[in-house]
Symmetry: C2
Subunit: 308 residues, 2 copies
Amino acid sequence: MSNKLMDAVTDSLSLSDAMAAAAAEIDQALDVVLPPEDGPEAPLYAAMRYAAIGGGKRLRGFLVLEGARQFGVSRQAALRVAAAIEMVHAYSLVHDDLPAMDNDDLRRGKPTVHKAWDEATAILAGDSLLTHAFTVLGEDDTHPDPAVRIELVRCLSRAAGPRGMCGGQMLDMLAEQAGAPLDEPAIGRLQTLKTGKLIEFSAEAGAILGKAHSAQRHALLAYGRDLGAAFQIADDVLDATATAEQTGKATGKDAAAGKATLVGLLGLERARLQAERLVAQAKDHLDGFGERAELLRMLADFVIARRS
Amino acid sequence: MSNKLMDAVTDSLSLSDAMAAAAAEIDQALDVVLPPEDGPEAPLYAAMRYAAIGGGKRLRGFLVLEGARQFGVSRQAALRVAAAIEMVHAYSLVHDDLPAMDNDDLRRGKPTVHKAWDEATAILAGDSLLTHAFTVLGEDDTHPDPAVRIELVRCLSRAAGPRGMCGGQMLDMLAEQAGAPLDEPAIGRLQTLKTGKLIEFSAEAGAILGKAHSAQRHALLAYGRDLGAAFQIADDVLDATATAEQTGKATGKDAAAGKATLVGLLGLERARLQAERLVAQAKDHLDGFGERAELLRMLADFVIARRS
């Protein structure tokens, strides 16, 4: 392990505390904004809660909270936006795991929603999480200024929609069906759309909430872009090298499915170097921010040092 | 046929012209707001367009346009909202038709999206239409006032989400799985959520766009509620009595699937009477509106007089 990575692991002790605390807060926020398991529709609400609460690193939510903290945004507002983004992320996992898509049985160490319930419930729970995220953003509690709330809606829907996450998932499926390996630009496009746009928006959201001026908003967005790209490479590296026990989901699936990843194209070492370059670049975007952005800098190191 | 129904059929000649013209305008608006079939994601965009453009009566879109006309709202604004709601309606059909849900091969006289493409594309096209609807509502062109745009987002997402359409679809599935007949209140709840809320919002949306005062907004909402309930009964009557050729979709499926409908519970004649009562009630809500609301009154008669 390089000195740089050693430092990152040391730093990540305080980072991981901060992330764990944020994850707990986000779970509380999700518990408040999601429908309680009451009434005749209760099985749907149970599946939504199962998919959204109590799992994952909450990378996207943490980015919202830390971005918002740069501008002194109220914690309640930031947590609602973090919860909305995590709902969108959770919906995408529920649908991606479906038999017609990636056909995964295991997610975050638990049976996937279509395994714990059935396919129809999983489709509906995903649809519901996606739709409910916009209800949460739309409500007054998220921000007193309607212009801020609608800007969040516009940016989140773009990041998640046909020119964002959904488009990326389509490219992923098409690449698998074609069976021919993608080149580097095509893999870059796929990953930018599939995971990059939502991570980018997560970093940007705090600036929107804080009505930051455009240079600051753009700096956070650029940070999120590089962080997201590094994160994706690290994810692919983990899929290639870790066990299911470590990650809480099926691993080695990319290679088995002939999936297009940079690791497959460049090999492990060159992919890792590229991720390190991206992390350095991500941190450079935070130069205009002070001490308060320290957790965001540490997070950049963490995404490629993590082991699960 | 009663005199009342005869009158409705005569009136519906001008209504059907107005509806056909509105449907054409809505298709044009959808063509503008949906992503063009370009780039590597083109198959996704093609499936979205196939699902959303060129089919159906556009009842929901027509309600938006006519509601907006009561308050002199710009046609462009009303058409964008009509397009957004029709995208949400189209997404719900694409997902409901999936093998894991209603397993339909035919919709609006064409193969369903999972038949014309595959299941994964259908899931993604549905997700994309839903998400893109919020992008359209979020953009400045929909209304200059962000408070109006976010109110549309809030109300649409509630109507379509876990306490609206998704919740209703869940109840429908649970009723089928249970195999036991629902009672009248339970059927009412199912239909209110599954189709009622979105129709209600379609009628209300014009008042939101027009910043109508709350009595007018509520009158349109109440009109939409009764109209939606009547429409649902008429739909069930058609399913029980019409042919697939007439409706452009599979019929007789409710009875075959043991689905919970008022027709099944009350019989055809009592169900028809209830629909007529609802139509009269819907028109009463328009008493405060003048000549301009005439098409909305005719529409109420039309929904139970239609034969496809």
